[in-house]
Amino acid sequence: MPRRRRARFGWTALTGIVVLVAAAGAHGQQDPLCPYFAGCEFEAPGFTIRVVDERTGEPVSDAHVMAIWIVYGMYGRKGPIMTLEAVSGSDGTVTFPAWGPLRGGSTGLEPGHDPAISVFKPGYRTLFVINPTPLSQELLARVHPFHRAGQAFALVPFQGPAAETIAELRKAAYPLSYPSSRAPQVVRDAYVHRYRRVRVELERLPRDTEVSRFLRRLDEEIQAYRTGGDR
């Protein structure tokens, strides 16, 4: 590259960086350079929800609830930057603690999945709730609260044929993107515990090819998340 061109590039790059830094101020609480060089930090406040039976309105206890915050990854692949789990108490209440700050990617968290809630309780259809992220909330915003905190969510009783049950169990096992096997222990544990609960229900079904394959896959995932690292 000729020297003059190199110099032009250098100054252009420097000017660009300054402009970008200035523009990054729009992200407010974030480190303004984070989208460009170091990745951004994210956090979420704690919140509580309730789980009830749709038919009776009574609280549902022992439901496994996951709150999943999805971060964009390179190649368009996404994964949870944080997943928290909790089990509903006798009054159907589920409480998630605050987390963060954690450093994630440079593109931000996915609206609607910041967090999404997955509720699994045998005897009910798997419930998936997306976050009504307001348009005013930047993807790169540092704080991503659940905007339906404090609300009650109704589970629909379900008892169906094996094929439909498997579909429900799949929804429960794979609510969103997979965490990396290098993800923090708390994230991996949430998935392992969900997989185990799904596994118990799967074992009750007549063993055919699909059930066997599903079981094998769950076992692989459990193994991967327990040991960590790429396979």
Binding site: M1, R6, A7, F9, G10, W11, A13, L14, G16, I17, L20, C34, P35, Y36, F37, A38, G39, C40, V71, Y72, G73, M74, Y75, G76, R77, K78, G79, R103, G104, G105, S106, T107, E110, P111, G112, I130, N131, P132, T133, P134, L135, L139, H147, Y174, Y178, P179, S180, S181, R182, R213, R217, E220, E221, A224, D230, R231
Partner: protein, 732 residues
């Protein structure tokens, strides 16, 4: 000066560090869907599988399947198609770059690889066909060179082992490796390699890949913004939402473009006449980093499409988007349109919105103060709906080209002294291309161990639609009756190193018959009893069997009496009473992997039934002979189709007899002369099956009183009950 050098060298360092991120292509499930469509549309892939005795449901190397979690939730069930899809996904394998985490580059979980494959996924077709180049530094080899093994291929871990020539190597080993597992593993590798090759062709339908527009989204200043186009298309592939949108993205369209037939392989990417897929995407579309711009309006320095917004059509386009929180975002953008010219199909698609200008951001979410050029989902949809069906059509064409060789092999085997004489005839059915190379025949034993048959290798030149002479070789009786496979390795047309295969379609049809004769003569004791088995039972009916009605099974019982009056000796009259019976068991053997379907259709109006026939003959020595005959139906007849235990070798197959038949494994179906329509029998995995009569002929009963006789002769009287079922077979 120091600052300039710092910036330049620092930037370069970052580029080199960040380089793996530059090459992301259509996202993994988009590749998967395009590849699935290509696989399913390619008739030659289906023909190849049939030719080598594989079914689309066969699975390979299940222990080596990559877990779904690392394939964006795609579940590889081990079939050829799924291995190809896994290959299409895994062409994006990359190295681990722990250092980049600190720069904000969030890496997806991936299968560890010694190479960042995606660096070699670019093809800057308008600038001499170079690979990915950032700030004048070449970071990867051109995609066609990577795909076709011209650059970067080799045995080292950091070299490419999934190029087109690699696919050929795997293909050969999938046919001739001794162990069944090894052949299965190489079949998996063959289809995985082809998936990786078609991934690169599919990337040629991504303008960012053919316009040298890095789009990693990691250290964006250097590597470009994350590709929202590819992100959006992926949501279409996954039936998912895009960003803040409340609604699911529309389904991906990958169908609707004719399969491209062109040669050589390079022409799928680019041609001098600009008919390649990269020509189409690069010269007709803009990309996020090479879009019109008010400040840097060079469109990446590319001449096509012309970087003059004023020369494009301009149309207002309204949009209305409901977001996840229920808000409604409405507005209008001005789309810039042009006619997209498809030189391969010779068509023009009018008024395609290739760019937009408005106060809205690229996601149609935020309103700014000034109008800017962007690309948004209106442009993404327009581009994807044109480019992805073409990606599938070109990819299917490449697969068709890879498997275009067609070989026909007819074979017959007959006992020959201590061995068996095989007579083979090969025909080159590849349209317009001569085969020059080595033809070799292999056979599997019952454990699936494949070996080259002695004396079964020929160096031949076979023009199209030409057959060899009868090629003969003798094999021992321990040879498996099948499957056999003929593998060609050589030059097809002008392409060297081509592999073509066929399974000789030998079919054995035999009749295990017993002829039973019992005679109780009035003057002899003990009675004469005679039994005979047909030997050998099998005939070679390779070329005729499907055209010949089966005399599926029959059995007869005849009771007869012969009265003699021996005038010459004036002796007493004598009467012979005898019973003669014959029954048969038809057997059909086609070795595994033959090109027959698995449903047997026995045609309507199965012939046969049970008949009683009476015959009376008089013989007058030297003068005349006369008599009469009557025939009347007695009952209908039925037969069953049974599955038999396959023979382990030729000697066993030819050694079956009525007295020592193959073991019956189970009943597959039943045919009856009473049935009106065709009977369909699912043969399942059965390759050796027999037809056996269920209706037994009844005893003809007592004979009539002795017939009158003439002074110089004798009389013969018989009653026969005969049952048979015959039908014309057809394999669906």
């Amino acid at each position: 000066m120091i600052v300039r050098h710092w910036i330049a060298s620092g930037s370069l360092t970052i580029v080199l560090l960040a380089c793996p991120a530059n090459g992301s292509a259509y996202d993994v499930r988009t590749h998967g869907e395009i590849t699935r469509a290509a696989f399913e549309r390619s008739q030659r892939v289906a023909d190849y599988l049939t030719a080598v005795g594989l079914k689309s449901t066969d699975t390979f190397a299940l222990g080596e399947v990559t877990t779904s979690r690392l394939l964006a939730d795609f579940e590889n069930t081990g079939t050829a198609r799924d291995w190809m899809i896994e290959g299409a996904i895994r062409e994006d394998d990359l190295k681990s770059h722990p250092g980049l985490d600190t720069l904000g580059c969030e890496f997806p979980e991936h299968v560890p690889s010694p190479i960042d494959r995606s660096l070699n996924h670019f093809f800057d077709v308008q600038r001499g066909g170079r690979g990915l180049t950032v700030l004048g530094v070449t970071l990867g080899v051109p995609a066609p060179d990577w795909a076709l093994g011209r650059q970067g291929r080799g045995p080292d871990p950091d070299q490419n082992q999934f190029s087109l020539p690699d696919a050929r190597d795997y293909q050969l080993r999938s046919l001739i490796a001794a162990a069944r597992d090894e052949r299965g593993r190489n079949t998996a590798l063959l289809f995985r390699a082809l998936g990786q090759v078609v991934h690169l062709l599919e990337d040629s339908a991504a303008p960012q890949h053919t316009r040298n527009d890095p789009h990693a989204g990691c250290v964006e200043v250097i590597t470009g913004q994350h590709s929202w186009f590819e992100e959006y298309v992926e949501t279409r592939a996954l039936n998912a939402r895009f960003r803040r949108r409340g609604a699911i993205s529309p389904p991906l369209i990958v169908e609707g473009y004719e399969i491209v037939a062109t040669r050589p392989y390079q022409d799928f990417f680019a041609t001098a006449s600009r008919q390649g897929l990269a020509d189409l995407s690069s010269r007709n579309f803009l990309s996020a980093g090479t879009n019109f711009s008010l400040l840097f309006g060079t469109c990446g320095g590319l001449p096509e499409p012309v970087c003059e917004p004023a020369t494009y059509g301009q149309e207002p386009r309204s949009f209305s988007i409901r977001t996840v929180d229920g808000a409604l975002v409405e507005g209008t953008v001005t789309v810039y349109t042009r006619d997209v010219v498809d030189l391969m199909a010779g068509t023009s698609i009018p008024r395609v919105p290739v760019s937009s200008r408005s106060v809205w951001d690229q996601h149609l979410e935020q309103r700014g103060l000034f109008p800017i050029f962007t690309m948004n989902t209106i442009n993404y949809d327009a581009a994807a709906d044109i480019l992805l069906p073409r990606a599938a059509g070109y990819a299917a064409g490449l697969l068709d080209a890879f498997f275009r060789g067609r070989l026909e092999a007819g074979i017959s085997v007959t006992p020959n002294g201590n061995g068996y004489l095989a007579t083979l005839q090969l025909t080159n059915r590849t349209p317009g291309e001569t085969m020059t190379g080595t033809f070799t025949v292999y056979a599997d034993d019952q454990d699936g161990v494949r070996t080259e048959l002695p004396g079964a290798r020929w160096n031949l030149t076979l023009p199209p639609d030409t057959s060899t002479s009868q090629l003969t070789f003798v094999v021992p009786g321990t040879t498996s009756p099948g499957p056999w496979i003929v593998a060609f390795q050589g030059t097809l047309g002008t392409e060297a190193g081509v592999i073509v295969a066929a399974q000789p379609s030998a079919v054995y049809v035999g009749r295990l018959a017993r002829d039973y004769f019992y005679s109780e003569r009035t003057w002899s004791n003990p009675p004469l009893v005679y039994e005979d088995d047909q030997d050998p039972p099998f005939e070679d009916l390779t070329f005729f069997w499907t055209r010949t009605p089966w005399v599926a099974a029959w059995e007869t019982v005849t009771r007869w009496r012969l009265d003699f009056l021996e005038y010459s000796s004036f002796g007493p009259e004598r009467t012979d009473y005898a019973v003669r019976a014959e029954d048969s068991f038809m057997v059909f053997y086609t070795p595994p992997g033959g090109a027959i379907s698995r449903v047997l259709e026995l045609s309507a109006g199965a012939g046969g039934g049970c008949y009683e026939r009476s015959r009376l003959e008089f013989s007058v020595y030297y003068y005349r002979q006369f008599g009469w005959e009557t025939s009347a139906p007695v009952s209908s007849a039925a037969a069953e189709i049974v599955e038999l235990e396959p023979p382990p070798d030729l000697a066993t197959l030819f050694g079956y007899s009525h007295a020592a038949p193959p073991r019956v494994l189970g009943t597959l179906g039943r045919i009856s002369t009473e049935q009106a329509g065709p009977t369909l029998i699912d043969l399942g995995e059965a390759r050796f099956f027999g037809v056996r009569l269920l209706t037994r002929p009844g005893d003809p009963g007592p004979l009539l009183p002795p017939a009158p006789y003439y002074p110089s002769g004798d009389s013969y009287y018989s009653v026969t009950v005969s049952c048979a079922v015959s039908a014309t077979p057809r394999f669906r």
